[in-house]
């Protein structure tokens, strides 16, 4: 206000002054006019200065006003003004009965491990004379090579079978480890399938796993039996590694390479305790070899092929100590002992099409593997034929399988599998002779119905021609399997 008053006065003076002075002293008009001009300029400069300051003042005032909450300008509406943040906070609060401190169930749950149970049960029938387990145990080139003879397993019987009840307990241990244990309980008792401590925070794509676990060298071995697309494992895996696969105490170091293409490399060291490939007998007749006795290495490469398609190639190699003790004359006393090395190598591939349709409809999985093994054993002692002591026995076998599944309806899949074991199937005996055996094959068809993610019914038929003592045993098998999963079961890998 004061400013504008001042300015008005100055303007009035300016307007009046030249007129009166010019009338009184015309002679000095020029000089006066000059003086007035100078004054006018001075005044104008002052006015500009004031204007500028006024502008600044106004800006400062505006700024102040902006900082005041809008609400203050509308006092009459203030009490009714709803505040979104406050409302949201109010709504995000859990209802009274769910507040922490009261709900013990939830509090406990957050510290307890995830628990799940898988019950795997099936009805089986085959038309062999002594049962399929006996047939598989006696296949030419693969059979009769157990570390200890008379080693008994849960045999697949005609009629009702309970494969096992798989219990899973797992949790994050702390920011550095996660751990899980999987005891498998069958009628024969409990067996530890896995007990694993795994790192979660190692840099450079490294991960270490320790305990007892399935070697992840190939798809089938890395999966638990309930994840398989068929009731049983491929023939070659079953014959080379036995019913339980390569599952042992040890350590795994794996590395996810910093490449654009997913590439994982791993080294696994195992104690060396597999009935058919890496058996350690020790005792008086055989050298005691300290562990780890088995070293496995594998790589998996999964180039991106776009969209809903996925593919993964794997290569693997494993080697270790193998010992055998046999009772050659069947008198119940071991009479010859072998010690040496055993190795396997091979590769596998899996292709998956993950269709956009719900419940696996249209999904395709194609999978195949080649596996070769060689055991080179030295006769350490032979009570019946001392002449062969120091000689070698060499076994060489291999096999392949191809399988595929297709989701022909929501929740329904059909699958087929072809197995061939013993493409190469030969044995060089310690007495210098060599033998060559026939191959065995099997065709399998499967239909399964996944009622929900927690229950699956599977129907499977297979027909195999198994080489046994120079002949081919034709065995037809029929399975009706029911699996259910209770509790929070973890996600399955690719």
């Amino acid at each position: 206000m004061k400013l504008s008053l001042l300015l008005t006065c100055a303007f009035i003076c300016l307007l009046l002054a030249p007129a009166s002075r010019a009338a009184e002293e015309p002679a000095d008009a020029q000089a006066l006019r000059n003086e007035i001009d100078a004054l006018r300029q001075q005044l104008e400069a002052q006015k500009r200065d004031y204007d500028a300051r006024l502008q600044l003042l106004r800006q400062a005032l505006d700024k102040l006003a902006a900082q005041q909450p809008v609400r203050h300008q509308l006092p009459e509406e203030a009490p009714a003004e709803p505040d979104l943040e406050a409302l949201l906070q109010q709504l995000q609060q859990p209802p009274e009965e769910h507040r922490p401190g009261i709900d013990w169930g939830r509090a406990f749950q957050s510290f307890n491990p995830d628990i799940s149970v898988i019950i795997d049960t099936f009805y089986h029938h085959d038309d062999s004379e002594e049962g399929i387990s006996h047939v598989l145990g006696g296949i030419d080139g693969f059979g009769h090579s157990h570390g200890h003879e008379g080693h008994h397993h849960a045999e697949t019987e005609n009629g009702f079978n309970l494969r096992h009840l798989e219990l899973y307990l797992g949790a994050e241990v702390d920011p550095y480890f996660k751990a899980w244990a999987i005891p498998a309980i069958s009628e024969e008792g409990a067996e530890l399938e896995e007990a694993v401590i795994q790192t979660t925070g190692l840099p450079y794509g490294l991960q270490v796993k320790a305990g007892k676990f399935f070697s992840e060298f190939c798809r089938v071995n890395a999966q638990h039996s309930h994840e398989w697309d068929f009731v049983d494992a491929p023939l070659i895996n079953q014959l080379v590694f036995g019913d339980h696969g390569l599952n042992d105490k040890g350590v795994q170091l794996s590395w996810l390479a910093p490449t654009d293409v997913p590439l994982t490399l791993a080294l696994e060291a195992f104690q060396g305790d597999n009935e058919t490939m890496f058996s350690h007998v020790g005792g008086d007749e055989l050298p005691d070899r300290s562990g780890p006795r088995v070293l496995v290495q594998w790589l998996k490469l999964a180039p991106e092929i776009g969209g809903n398609h996925g593919i993964q190639f794997g290569g693997f190699h494993g080697s270790g100590v193998h010992q055998e003790a046999h009772d050659g004359d069947g008198d119940g006393v071991e009479d010859h002992w072998l010690d040496g090395t055993s190795l396997f190598w091979g590769g596998d591939v899996v292709y998956k099409y993950d269709s956009p349709a719900a419940h696996e409809q249209g999904d395709v999985v194609l999978q195949g593997e080649y596996l070769s093994r060689r055991r080179d054993l030295n006769v350490e002692n032979h009570a019946l034929a001392p002449a062969v002591i120091g000689n070698n026995r060499v076994d060489q076998q291999d096999g392949i399988y191809l399988q595929g599944t297709y989701g022909f309806l929501p929740r329904w899949r059909a699958g087929a599998r072809w197995d061939l074991a013993g493409i190469t199937n030969k044995q060089k005996l310690p007495d210098g002779t060599a033998e060559s055996f026939d191959d065995s094959n099997r065709y399998t068809g499967m239909i399964d119905w996944t009622l929900t993610e927690f229950s699956r019914l599977r129907f499977q038929v297979s027909q195999g021609r198994y080489a046994a003592e120079g002949e081919k045993d034709k065995v037809t098998q029929f399975f009706l399997q029911l699996m259910v999963s209770l509790g929070s079961h973890g996600a399955h890998k690719f």
Binding site: P82, K352, T452
Partner: protein, 339 residues
């Protein structure tokens, strides 16, 4: 010389673009990715695992997804156990401790949203695929989209404080755009988005507009769906609850007898009865579900099957989060008016 220097210059620019470190954001679904992209702007490359035309409940944890997670600075998930079948396999495989649950780069977007259908009693699987933490399809409520955007902006400010101002500005811009699509440009400029949402949350938007003589100024989705208020619809899965709740539609029943359980003939017979009895006209389902059951029911009633995407990328018109809601609003209101 010019011909030589030009490609070299381009290369230099490309190298510069790479050197100016962009954040790597991976979202489990396309909707979260779209919102994250709006908030992150040019400071991040945003990718998503599950495509919009797929069922987010089920996915193969492809090695390619593990690569995405390995390189991620921020992992955003829908949460509430929606991705439980595949997310753990990806996070385990990625060997990236920052994005594991509770890590600085792991954002569960469900943490701050308004939830529906949180079970009050013990949940068993006999009830079907019921999630103990509530119905996870919350992104179909635009208010939840707005809340998620704010959560993402908050986390980005923590991870990348240098660009905090930019994230805040992007958030404000996204919220404004969303508010304008929801209530119409005129109403938002006059009343303000926050205030409109607050009134909407209190359930008194109609009353407020009436009182202020503003009813004619309501635009956007709210205006488009207004005539459908309290109309009954049938859905395939319980995935439209949030959309129906926000826009005042009444879901009468689902074709699935229980969440995740396929429609059975006896249940469909009951649905047909309900549709005929209630004069229901719309059966809403996502593109990845089989149309069979819906078409069967539609054939026996006066209802029509409306296949509608519920995620960004579910069809050609749902290119981002806002156009997804556009698409749904459009499909649903057309389904009612075209008959």
């Amino acid at each position: 010389m010019k011909f030589v220097s030009f490609p070299l210059l381009m290369l230099a620019f490309a190298a510069g673009a790479v050197a100016e470190e962009e954040l790597n954001i991976v979202a489990t679904t396309s909707d979260l990715a779209s919102i994250a992209q709006s908030v992150a702007g040019s400071h991040a490359v945003v990718r998503n695992v599950c495509k919009g035309d797929r069922d987010p409940h089920f996915l193969q944890a492809k090695p390619g997804y593990i690569m995405m997670a390995r390189d991620a600075d921020l992992w955003i998930r829908v949460g509430m156990e929606l991705e439980i079948g595949w997310e753990p396999a990806i996070l385990d495989g990625a060997r990236n401790s920052a994005i594991r649950e509770n890590g600085p780069g792991h954002l569960d977007a469900s943490q701050s949203v308004l939830r529906l259908e949180v079970p009050a009693q013990r949940v068993t699987r006999a009830m079907g695929d019921v999630h103990a933490q509530g119905n996870p399809h919350y992104w179909l409520d635009p208010l939840n989209g707005r809340i998620v955007a704010k959560a993402i902006a908050g986390r980005l400010e923590q991870i990348d404080p240098f660009n905090a101002a930019s994230y805040r500005a992007n958030l404000a811009q996204f919220q404004k755009a969303l508010d304008e699509r929801m209530f119409g440009t005129e109403l938002v400029s006059q009343i303000g988005g926050d205030k409109l949402w607050a009134i909407e949350l209190k359930g008194s938007l109609g009353e407020f507009l009436e009182k202020g003589n503003l009813a004619g100024k309501l635009g956007g989705w709210a205006a488009a769906v207004k005539p459908l208020r309290a109309q009954k619809i049938v859905t395939y899965h319980k995935s439209w609850v949030y959309f129906a709740n926000r826009f005042g539609l009444a879901i009468d029943c689902e074709l699935e007898p229980k969440p995740g359980i396929p429609p059975s003939p006896s249940h469909l017979a009951r649905v047909i009865e309900r549709i005929n009895g209630g004069g229901i006209r719309v059966i809403l389902l996502e593109p990845f579900y089989s149309r069979k059951a819906a078409d069967f029911v539609a054939g026996k009633t006066s209802a029509t099957t409306v296949v509608c995407p519920n995620s960004v990328g579910g069809n050609d018109s749902a290119t981002d989060y806002l156009s997804l809601i556009d698409t749904i609003v459009d499909r649903v209101s057309k389904a009612f008016t075209e008959r």
